[in-house]
């Protein structure tokens, strides 16, 4: 580990995966419990269009991608809330349109474009300025979710009850969608647009298999996220794998372990329940 951390780019990469992991577990809790996984997937893919715009204009693709992702997230929320189109239909249309736009724009970008890194992440290439931008955005998201946790939880529990309690349900719902878009953008450097939504879903899904109570779920998903990030980064360095693929594979492996642990625990409980009384 010390050998790995001797490199400046590895230290930067470590900061990025820790940031992405921490934020993903925090926001992922609401994504999984409110069934927003497909929205996260759609927003992540939509960011591709914004990243392409940045490359074409020669500006920071992180900020253009962020603008794009936030706009698409708000649009998904707005169209769905109006009730004219089902959420999955809205997301299907917007994410396909944004991918098509991104591909069309990229074909006009002069010179070489590292499409592979864009799609599947290359955390080892993170620059210092980019890491600062990620930390700024990530800090804002973390503050929002931590400070408004009860409000967000209340809306997740029941919008009607939250409204009667005097909470601004629309602001909170749009706020959560924006948070999802920003977390996706923080994760894109680590795992790319194709796999960004996986970080939002897999750690929380794994934690829910074995933890009871939301505090345990949050804590365990944080552990899964961080272990996946750091473990994936080490594998990426050692075996020269794309960082996104190795991080998501480690997370998926941990999800498999959690499924097995749940299965084992249930079998054990059933076995104990069926065991005869001693002395019979």
């Amino acid at each position: 580990m010390s050998e790995i951390l001797a490199y400046e780019f590895m230290r930067r990469a470590l900061v990025v995966v820790l940031l992405a992991g921490g934020l993903s577990s925090l926001v992922g809790f609401f994504v999984v419990s409110q069934r927003l996984a497909f929205a996260g997937h759609g927003v992540a893919h939509s960011a591709y269009g914004g990243l392409a715009v940045g490359l074409l204009l020669g500006t920071s693709s992180f900020w253009t991608g962020t603008l794009f992702a936030v706009a698409v997230a708000l649009l998904i929320g707005w169209i769905t809330r109006r009730g004219r189109l089902a959420e999955d239909t809205t997301i299907g249309i917007l994410h396909a349109a944004a991918m098509a736009l991104g591909t069309a724009i990229l074909s006009r970008v002069p010179g070489y474009v590292d499409l592979f890194s864009l799609l599947f992440g290359n955390v080892l290439a993170a620059q210092a300025a980019e890491v600062r931008a990620l930390a700024l955005v990530g800090g804002g998201v973390a503050l929002f979710v931590i400070l408004r946790f009860h409000d967000l939880m209340s809306v997740a529990f029941s919008e009607e009850l939250a409204r009667i309690d005097g909470r601004s349900v629309e602001v909170l719902s749009y706020g959560l969608l924006v948070a999802v878009a920003l977390v996706v953008m923080v994760s894109v450097r680590a795992v790319g647009v194709v796999l960004a939504s996986a970080l939002l879903v897999i750690p929380t899904a794994a934690a829910r298999q074995v933890a009871s109570g939301y505090r345990q779920v949050l804590g365990l998903s944080l552990v899964v996220s961080l272990v996946s990030g750091v473990g994936g980064l080490i594998l990426s360095f050692l075996w020269d794998l794309p960082s996104g693929a190795s991080i998501v594979l480690v997370a998926t492996f941990l999800f498999g372990l959690s499924l097995a642990a749940r299965h084992w625990r249930e079998r054990r409980r059933r076995g104990l329940a069926l065991a005869p009384f001693p002395g019979r």
Binding site: F149, H150, M153, S154, F157, E160, G166, A211, Y214, L218
Partner: protein, 250 residues
């Protein structure tokens, strides 16, 4: 019902439209402290819409709604499909969401708040269940937790939307007995939307029937004897002769 006290809720000539269709028209009623009012009628008659109007969840297109309950004075218990019971919340957390507004992730429930939560759980017969996971409770227990949530927030008017849904008969009976006791002992008023006329009629004092944009309001005895209920009471005798029941076409 305390006759002298001002009504907690007044609806005067209320008209509500949804998706371009008039659902309620000219509805006038009052709900007094300690009263148990049952709202019955076929599907699509506007029963849930009425509760949402009472709870300020829906605007009215005509008429007037006056609520004299103060902040936190309305407690709403939605149908089961209207809340997410897969969040990993403990029973005390569900109530704390109402009792402790605007709290951060790291804010702990204070002793005085814990006392309010415990008292509310005791009122609904769930003392000591605060640490249980909400999702592991039965449908009836979940309904009672939501009642406790409303009471802990200082509700004076409880609005329940088909609380008997997904409950077996003993659980339904237990819930209605609890509501009647709350109304009688604490002065809380209950408005209950129900499909089970016999069950709710056994505990309510007044009944509101909604059907095809018309409404009829009266005592339970009046309504049960009214031809307005024909067809809603499955296999029941035909109800006749209720000139006392004010009924109007919409």
């Amino acid at each position: 019902m305390s006759g002298n006290a001002l009504p907690l809720l007044e609806l005067e000539g209320v008209r509500v439209e949804r998706d371009g269709r008039t659902v309620l028209d000219g509805l006038t009623l009052q709900v007094h402290p300690g009263e148990f009012l049952a709202v019955v009628g076929p599907n699509g008659a506007g029963k849930s819409t009425l509760l949402q109007v009472m709870a300020s969840l829906l605007p009215v297109q005509g008429g007037r709604v006056v609520r004299r309950v103060g902040p936190g004075g309305i407690g709403y218990v939605p149908q089961k499909r209207a809340f997410n019971d897969q969040l990993g919340l403990r029973v005390a957390d569900v109530i704390a969401l109402r009792v402790v507004p605007r709290a951060s992730l790291f804010r702990r429930v204070r002793p005085e708040e814990r006392r309010v939560i415990a008292q509310a759980l005791e009122q609904v017969g769930l003392a000591g269940l605060g640490a249980r996971l909400f999702q592991e409770l039965s449908g009836g227990e979940q309904q009672r937790v939501l009642l406790a949530r409303a009471l802990a927030g200082g509700a004076r008017l409880l609005l329940l939307d088909e609380p008997e849904q997904a409950l077996d008969l003993p659980a339904q009976r237990h819930l209605y007995q609890l509501l009647a006791r709350l109304c009688g002992q604490t002065g809380v008023a209950c408005v209950v939307v129900s499909h089970d006329i016999e069950q709710v009629a056994a505990h309510a004092q007044r009944m509101l029937l909604l059907r095809d944009q018309t409404w009829a309001l009266g005592s339970v005895a009046q309504l049960l004897a009214s031809p307005a209920l024909t067809g809603l009471t499955e296999g029941g005798p035909e109800k006749v002769g209720v000139s006392e029941v004010p009924e109007r076409a919409g």
